[in-house]
Subunit: 186 residues, 2 copies
DNA sequence: AGGATCTTTCAGGGGATTCTGAAAGTTGCG
DNA sequence: CGCAACTTTCAGAATCCCCTGAAAGATCCT
């Protein structure tokens, strides 16, 4: 296979753009998209031809995708060339990506905010300190929340996502007033 | 004010990097960080000096931040120059950003996937079709879920985020088996 | 209207990122 | 071992994105 159906091509291009918007290399996202829609494992040479990028570029992209954990290398018996498959489960892929971004971005942000607050002079700059403290609280909350999500089996995660409305009613009713906004600009 | 405390400077730099990792212009993220930790509104000239970037760059960044909805222009009486303030509420800011990214990335993805599936030949390419259909399902689910979240008042959102563990127990217990993975690779 | 003050736009330069081809590295087999 | 098949690395080229300064556009005051 050295050519793509119109459907697949459209998707690959769009996925490349999306990746780019999220700070991910366009080619890397395209390689992922391609593997995602292909039932059988592809070798690097084929990917290079289909996407029309250099063999070395494909090699780099594949390494990163494997690092992220959304693609794996497959060794077919009786063939020396490596082949690659993407995780075909959307939710699992989503989960892996979230976990990785948390590790790379949320965690370091928590560390930095903690250091800022620890180092900073508490006399000067009271407002900055206050803001950073609020941001740290929130970031930690996200982190905790993620830790919970992480442990859920796919079935429960699906239920959480699908059952949005019922959950929200629940949350809204738990602690008293559910409406009204609390402005906290001082 | 033409100089920044060490605390604020660290934060501004880090926020710039984070923004960059998420596909947002570094300077724009720095401007946002700066406004976020400043109690009083700043004028563009001051921002330009503090961050050491050109006046025009600041102008562009501010326009985008206003577009996003996380910064607003303030007209102080008796002064012709504009000043700018960031939303100081972390959750509100988060909410606005999520909404905007949904609009810019999730929504177009749904449209594209729908078109792919509508246009595509259903004979050839059955597996691709299947994968895209699953992805579309998931993306719609995210979209619905976001619509629910969007409506929540801050207090309820906080409760949802903070009460992670109890919610999860709940979800885990609602529909029967909570463990076991459903492999869908055929 | 004319000028002072401030803002926005945009073409072009400069810096950062991505891509490529060539060369070096790895692996399996006779 | 030596060769064949394949993969990875990396310096430099190509590309893209961001930033700047200059000029044009607002707005307000006298």
């Amino acid at each position: 296979m050295v050519t793509l159906s119109a459907m697949a091509r459209q998707f690959v291009l769009h996925w490349g753009e999306m990746g780019h918007a999220w700070g991910i290399n366009r080619t890397m996202a395209q390689v992922h998209a391609l593997l995602f829609v292909c039932r059988e494992a592809l070798d690097a040479e084929t990917i290079s031809q289909v996407l029309d990028v250099s063999r070395s570029n494909v090699s780099t992209s594949l390494r990163e995708l494997i690092d992220w954990g959304v693609v794996e290398r497959v060794h077919p018996i009786g063939d020396r060339r490596d082949r690659f498959v993407a995780c075909k489960d959307v939710i699992e892929t989503f989960r892996v990506i979230i976990a990785e971004r948390k590790r790379r971005e949320i965690d370091p942000t928590i560390v930095l905010l903690e250091r800022c607050l620890a180092d900073g002079d508490s006399q000067e700059d009271a407002f900055t300190r206050e803001q950073l403290a609020k941001l740290l609280d929130f970031t930690r909350m996200l982190s905790d929340w993620h830790a919970q999500i992480e442990r859920l089996p796919t079935s429960a995660l699906l239920r959480l996502l699908k059952g949005g409305s019922s959950l929200l009613k629940l949350v809204g009713g738990v602690g008293g007033r559910a409406s009204g906004s609390q402005k906290e600009s001082d």
